[in-house]
């Protein structure tokens, strides 16, 4: 398909120089020689940019991860020594990186599950609503989605504030006591994670809900009606009719959410600034960031591991996209 699509597009680009006999192999060979210059010129800026800013640092990082490069090497201009897998061994055995990794993965699973389930429920709700109500829900979701993550975290942090937070006030009023005066939500790692989960799920659900809703509206009504006449109840209809239609959409969102939830930084960092204990609440991004400038070899090893982990998950995304697209 790609050939038939692009060949006629490409040929008129050079009408004057088009060789008389297109189908011949010799002319195709000649054309191949002449044509490539224009597209490569068009691609050049992007290739240079991505080569310098993505490919080159990736290679440098892999090399650095096998050396004991430190900031003093940079200051003094001395070369670093090759240390083999020492950095990797140190990261995985002598640091709290394994704990951070476990925390990140656990958080990722919880966040992704909540966002997918919540998004699906809201999408189903939207199909049941009359137009006006659906608009109302859409506006609400859009606002939550559009909030910059940093602003959102600051606000939620204030809602859960120790002294004057709304949550403590509400719980006090509800229980009729003063038990929640000065109750800190961020100091305990578990309740920190709960607040973090609320923030991220609150911001993450709209994307999932809108996407699922778009997918749900693709399910033909006739099929649903037919299955209903055949006696399928609501749950069966969802599982046997709707889900097969939605499978691709759900997979796409699932992969994206998995990646995004592993890469969270802003919310965790900003919430830590508001009173969390960083060493007990770090995820991959903030852990790496808080290593700081210094032991570049070790941080490179952590970086290499993160890239491999995330690229491994992204593999499914790339494959799905390529499968869907005719290139």
């Amino acid at each position: 398909m790609s050939a038939t699509l692009t060949e006629p597009d490409a040929a008129p680009r050079t009408p004057s120089s088009r060789p008389p006999g297109i189908p011949g192999t010799t002319s195709a060979g000649r054309r191949r020689k002449r044509q490539p210059i224009t597209p490569w010129l068009l691609l050049a800026p992007s290739i240079v940019l991505l080569g310098v800013m993505v490919v080159y640092p990736s290679i440098v990082m892999v090399i650095n991860s096998f050396t004991n490069l430190e900031i003093k090497n940079k200051m003094l201009g001395t070369p670093a020594d090759f240390v083999g897998f020492d950095n990797y061994i140190e990261v995985f055995t002598k640091s709290d990186f394994p704990a951070v990794l476990a925390r990140s993965l656990g958080l990722m699973v919880v966040l992704t599950a909540l966002i997918i389930v919540g998004g699906m429920l809201i999408a189903l709700l939207m199909t049941k609503l009359a137009k006006g109500w659906r608009l109302l829900v859409s506006i609400g979701l859009l606002l939550a989605w559009a909030m910059p993550p940093l602003s959102a975290t600051v606000v939620w942090g204030w809602i859960f504030d120790t002294q004057y937070g709304l949550v403590n006030w509400f719980l006090n009023t509800l229980t009729g006591t003063n038990d929640f005066n000065s109750h800190s939500w961020l100091i305990d790692p578990w309740s920190f994670m709960m607040v973090l989960t609320i923030i991220i799920v609150w911001q993450g659900i709209p994307f999932a809900a809108f996407t699922f809703y778009a997918g749900l509206s693709q399910v033909p009504d006739e099929v649903l009606e037919a299955s209903q006449l055949d006696g399928a109840n609501a749950r069966q209809r969802f599982r046997l009719i709707v889900m097969p239609y939605l499978r691709n959409v759900v997979t796409a969102v699932l992969v994206l959410e998995t990646i995004w939830n592993l890469r969270i930084f802003t919310q965790v960092y900003a919430l830590q600034q508001q009173g969390g204990i960083a060493s007990e609440t770090n995820v991959l991004g903030t852990y790496l960031f808080r290593q700081g400038l210094g032991e570049f070899g070790v941080t490179a090893a952590i970086g290499v591991f993160m890239v491999i982990l995330l690229m491994g998950i992204s593999y499914f995304n790339v494959r799905n996209t390529l499968k869907e697209e005719e290139l």
């Binding site: 992007s46 940093l150 991004g285 290139l327």
Partner: protein, 315 residues
Amino acid sequence: MSTQITPAVQRAEEPARTDLGIVGTRALRGARRPGGKRLSRAGYAAIAIVVFVCSVFPVYWMVNMSFTPPNKIISRNPSLLPLEFTWKNYVTAWTREAAPGQTDFPHALASSLGVAITVVIVCALFAFLASIAIARFAFRGRIVFIVSVLVVQMVPGEAMMFTIYNMVDDWRLMNTLVGLFIVHLASVVPFTIWTLRGFVKGVPADLEEAAQIDGCTKPQAFWRVTFPLLAPGLVSTGIFAFIQSWNEFLMALLFLKGYNLTLPPWLNSFQSATEATNWGAVMAGSTLIALPVVIFFLFVQGRMTGGLVSGAVKG
């Protein structure tokens, strides 16, 4: 599934416009009633209100707090409405330094705008050229390039933060907006190429050929026929790039110091410095940062759902 973003856009927007095929829903609703104990319409409406309130409340609370006088904010009995309306918090947020020796809001705003707008312009240009190359030309290496763009898009930039820091430092661009600009540019270009390619593919090449037959030169045909049709794509990818750059926190935090801060690190410093004293001003600053993003977001939301599903991973 032949084109990338246009069908997705339609998919996202159509149901909203056509009210989800009234016939179908009515049939479902009618048939469902006798079927059993379904939630009534009032029940769904009630859930809708709950969802709406949960989504909107934090945004509302931010705006509410930003208009509440400082002495009312730190009270044991918060009021749900800004009964004593004041602009004072905005004045504080606008004029006070984030922290001693650090920038104030107007400078951070100028930095953020400068970086984001340059990113949008340069990114649109780079991606536009590249997307034409891959959507309109047949050449060897085309598929390799497309796959590379997809793969590069997946590389998590934050994992390489210190390597990139060293690189930018070697270029003597540390603590400059140019350094941050390059990093932001590299992070939005792959997504933009991928999305614009869908738009270029969506414009049939026949249109251009027709214009050429009618006497246009090739550049004229492109400029007068294809380009106007691509404008919506350029606008929405541009807005997306703007939001990305505007919200980016990690690299800005790592790269910038003192008077060069962009808005996200400004808010971070401002909040840390004034936490105990002035939450109203923090909320005012937060509102000011959110405002342009929310406005832009409303413009492109339909496209974002479709476009993001189809290929994007940068969040």
